[in-house]
Amino acid sequence: MKLWTLLAATATAAVLMAAPAAAQTRIALVVKSLGNGFFDAAAKGAQEAAAELGDVELIYTGPTAATAEAQIEVVNSLIAQQVDAIAISANDPDALVPVLQRAQQRGIKVISWDSGVAPEGRQIHLNPSDVGLIGETIVKLAADYLPEGGDVAILSAASTATNQNAWIEAAKAAIPEKFPNINLVSVVYGDDDSVKSTEEARGLIAAYPDLKAIIAPTTVGVVAAAQVVTDQGLIGKINVTGLALPSEFKQFIDNGASQAVALWNPIDLGYSAVFLANALVEGQEAAPGATFSIGKVGEVTLDENNSAAMAAPFQFDASNIEEFSKIYGSFLARRHGAGTPPSLPPLKGEG
């Protein structure tokens, strides 16, 4: 009977897989769905952190379908295994709250990272970055390659886009203090539309002949601007930078239209999540104002919602774009259906 063979095989496999866990601390990294390059990269970082911390066993798991219901089943099985901590990137900020509260009642430490859970369902939330750091980074990306200073312009998404407006405000605040020789001449809006972004980029180049850099804190705008610079033969004269997905921006780093762009780094994110979870297991209290070490990435301080920002966006240039374009390639394929223009991955999962 085939069924019996199958069952026997499964049982044997199951027994073999259930080798006793020797590590003292078991931390589960729960992702939105498996088979996603972004999360595989995060798991790589988490694995690194576990090795660095020593007696930590990492369980990398998640459902096949990115649904809250499937993730709840995963969390249920982790509760049954009495893991010490769960670090989750949630498919739904609300639906996972009851099951994560139950986990906490049974003594399991819970943090969320990347895509957050409502505060009552977790002890800490780790954001990849924060507004101030992003604002500063996008100016820095331009300033690093303008030792003499010069004119720069910002090509944003819609004029109503909350994220981008906050970043631009932060950028404007950072310029006089940290980048005094950078002169921001204009902010235009391409509405995250390729055609409109292209027109706006052309307009900027025509209006400001001394323009040295275009900063586009949007994945659509940055590609459009780099394409315009390439088409008009301005490579080397105007540097395009901003927040870009390595997978779709690689060609412009390769052809020189851009020196460097930035975005959140999934490897560091997984790494930091494990450090935070481990700190909680070791007895550190999560409270507003508390400071946690996140290993080589630095340290984070919790805000009034017990959420923290990991670091400034991670820089991609000629030295690492190859590796990260692969990581982000499969990440995007999951988050966005084919044919829709990708926007930035959500920065704050709690919105």
Partner: protein, 335 residues
């Protein structure tokens, strides 16, 4: 005079030995499979044989199982309902809507969920029995329609803030025990459906329709009326599942219960209900639900990636369906 009557010439009311047929039945095979998986799980994970683990396990199948009970009857009549997951989405959304717009208390909330389900089921039933449209086409349509309505009402927002006593439906336990309310509800529903299908005239008619709807019609069975009732029943159970799932999640999003319909149909088919109609049993469906719960939870305990789990359930389904066919072929070749 020899006592012929007391010697008792037994006249069999069936051709095969009832004991033998019970042992060789689909249900006993399923019980064995369930036991094997249970024992396997106990050996494979030290965390399995724990009252809380076993209780958590039941949440993996109770909501889908409730729908599967009604779906079994629909499939036995030769129809199908693919819209059940979307009914959950719409019912859950309307519950959230009622809560946030009118601030209704818990009993009304439950009523909204169940009645929405019933209404959706009646709509399916109307299209199938009055307009005579094929159920697979109708429910593919309403699958998009019901969830689409949920998306129109909610968009990318979510409803939360359900009252604490409402949460009990999805997260509550009976007294201080580890037995959840969901499990009790499933058990009660299973008994009711068992009686309905196997011990009432209604149930006999369901089988009659599945075997030959035309013959049933000419024998005085009101085929359309029974089918209509069954679609209503499936809608009702989906509404009930929506109440439980919403209470368990504590929130509503239009994407709730995505893909549940396939899991429900898997349970029904694994339970031995013929996908062509005319045969099946509630006991089989209940054990199949249990098996799905045991497999998913057991593999979860071992942190087997979800994709392997899907492969396992898929293979189980194919093997289990292929087995009787292979057995029959083998028997025919021997004969």
């Amino acid at each position: 005079m020899t006592d012929m009557s007391s010697a008792g010439r037994q006249l069999p009311d069936r051709l095969d030995n009832p004991l033998k047929s019970a042992v060789l039945s689909w249900e006993s095979l399923l019980v064995l499979v369930a036991l094997a998986i249970f024992v396997g799980n106990s050996f494979a994970s030290p965390y399995f044989l724990n009252p809380w683990s076993l209780s958590d396990l039941t949440f993996n199948f109770t909501e889908k199982g409730l729908i599967a009970l009604a779906m079994a009857l629909v499939i036995i009549t030769g129809e199908i309902d693919l819209s059940v997951a979307s009914i959950i989405a719409l019912a859950s959304t309307l519950m959230g809507f009622a809560l946030h717009t009118f601030g209704v208390p818990t009993p009304v909330l439950v009523l909204v969920g169940v009645l929405t389900g019933l209404g959706c089921g009646a709509f399916n039933g109307f299209l199938v029995t009055v307009l005579k449209l094929p159920s697979i086409v109708v429910t593919i349509g309403t699958m998009s329609l019901f969830r689409g309505l949920a998306y129109i009402i909610l968009g990318d927002r979510s409803y939360g803030g359900y009252p604490r006593d409402f949460a009990w439906f999805g997260q509550g336990y009976i007294g201080d025990s580890v037995i959840s309310f969901e499990l009790v509800l499933f058990a009660v529903a299973a008994v009711l459906f068992y009686v309905l299908l196997h011990h009432t005239n209604f149930g006999r008619r369901v089988f009659a329709i599945g075997n030959n709807a035309t013959a049933a019609q000419f024998s005085g069975v009101r085929v359309d009326r029974i089918k209509f009732v069954l679609f209503c029943l499936t809608g009702l159970m989906s509404g009930l599942a929506a109440v439980l799932l919403t209470a368990r999640l504590g929130s509503t999003r239009p994407s709730i219960a995505q893909g549940f319909e396939l899991d429900v149909i898997t349970m029904v088919v694994l339970g031995g209900v013929s996908i062509l109609g005319g045969a099946g049993s509630i006991i089989g469906v209940v054990i199949a639900a249990l098996i799905i719960g045991l497999v998913t939870f057991g593999l979860g305990l071992l942190n087997v990636p979800g994709i392997v789990m899907s492969i396992f359930t898929g293979s189980l389904l194919i093997v289990v369906i292929a087995l009787p066919i292979l057995y029959k072929m083998w028997k025919e070749r021997r004969a």
